[in-house]
Amino acid sequence: MQNYFQPEIECAAPEQLKKIQDERLVQTVRRMYDNVPYYKKLMDEKGLKPADIQSTDDLHKLPFLTKTDLRDAYPYGLLAAPLHDCVRIHSTSGTTGKRVVAFYTQNDLDLWDDCCARAIVAAGGTKDDVVHVAYGYGLFTGGMGLNGGAHNVGCLTLPMSSGNTDRQIQFMVDLGSTILCCTPSYAEFLAEIIEEQGLRDQIKLKAGIFGAEAWSQEMRERLEEKLRIKAYDIYGLTEIIGPGVSFECEEQTGMHINEDHFIAEIIDPDTGEVLPEGTKGELVFSCISKEAFPLLRYRTRDICVLERKKCSCGRTLIKMAKPMGRSDDMLIIRGVNVFPSQIETVLLAYGLSANYQIIVDRVNHTDTLEVCVEMNPEMFSDTVKQIEAREHELMDKLRSMLGISAKVTLKAPKSLTRSEGKAVRVVDKRKI
């Protein structure tokens, strides 16, 4: 079975891929230098000129870009194409101060659609498939990304977006959805409802393309069994393009990176030094064919391993393992990026101590966030009513800072761990 969308790239000889990367990198660096003053300044500070970058072998000379740069340059500071050539914006789910806006030209959307189309075809998708996209649509990249990919393959596409589970299942039955695209936790929820309603035999699903959150091998097996599908992983981030930066093939042992558009590196998160293939480190991406927002050497903070082994699917594209953690302390809760420092800011502004604990769990397929704080005389009162009013006020402040709600639990003073050295601020109980 030939499960390729663009075999000339997906199965290209390594030297041919490198040639494409070399050319595109040189062009992109030139364009960034000429069109993005913010980036020119970064290169100048390193004493770099575009001519210093002749091929991917020179990639390590370029400065890193981080989320801080994106924030500093918000909104237009890293735009590399004229605004009138841009046709769409997506944004991270990030919260105040951390929001990132990414721009797309029509070409950018087209290549993104190709990336997602490769993922759909790798999961067995053809023109005859009915692709059920239950990722959120809107500023979030998930829905529109897979939607474009499915169009590109020629599949009948159901732009379901997220939520309204009964309707999701009704459409799945009535229209015979064959490929489900959503977060793995939502897939699990759907599976449960399908089971409850005894509809499994009326569901025609054969594959699922799941991403946007971490999920384990155990979860894969559970989803495959419950939905009687093959479950494929997909990876991406808004800063780079969205879903489809990399995708899984039938081997299901890591995700092939679309190397004609994105160059991946693994670096030591502390020193920034590039690490050899097969070594665990921080994943860094350079966009080499995007026009509007071609970030170079963007530090994802995802801890990962890259390996270019011969894959039984025939693809030559390098594979990345499932990210196994983060090099910063960011949490992803219900799809929203949450930094403990944001919570700390709210607590301190509220006059509470910096001794707090964040407990993240997953209950009924939904992430829960609990913030344990130590009671202090200012917050205390002799009536429950008043304490609860202050508790609610604090919850409101947390919600407006984070964009998601958190439960506040009051603890006795000095009851939260004050360990020697580094305090344990986050307890993540989610089983993934």
């Binding site: 005389p377 009162s381 002799d382 429950v384 639990t409 009051l410 006795a412 000095k414």
Partner: protein
């Protein structure tokens, strides 16, 4: 007219209440009256003690969060309906009661009622008009 009541924050977990009470006992503090208001996460332990300032010092030493509030203590006849009369008088005067708890004293035939209201002065006035006299702290010693 009022007496001082100490409130202590207590986590709603086994062993937390006894810790507080033990601390007081070990330091020779005698409890005159107490009540607990609780939620699923925490409780508020309210205490009338023989030596408020010493109790506060001891509790702070033990890292407890405390507050002190003036509350009304009234002596009523230990008979059916006497508390109702007190509360009715306050209610008729539009004084709402935050909480109330009662206990029996050494004085035969009398009970003490602790009342937490928003306006102590006004409440005391109403009670006096109705023939109920708020007790001073010494009455509880």
């Amino acid at each position: 007219m009022t007496i001082d009541q100490i409130s202590v924050f207590v986590e709603n977990k086994p062993g937390k209440l006894v810790d507080v009470v033990e601390t007081l006992g070990q330091n020779g503090i005698d409890l005159r009256a107490m009540s607990i208001a609780d939620t699923s996460d925490f409780g508020i332990l309210r205490l009338i003690v023989d030596d408020t300032s010493k109790a506060l010092a001891v509790l702070r030493e033990a890292d407890c969060v405390t507050s002190v509030n003036p509350v009304l203590a009234v002596s009523v006849e230990d008979a059916p309906g006497s508390l109702a009369k007190v509360l009715r008088a306050l209610s008729d005067a539009a004084i709402s009661v935050e909480y109330v708890y009662a206990f029996i004293t050494h004085e035969p035939g009398r009970a003490f009622v602790i009342l937490r209201v928003e306006d102590n002065e006004k409440a005391a006035e109403i009670l006096t008009q109705n023939g109920v006299k708020p007790a001073s702290g010494s009455a509880l010693q």
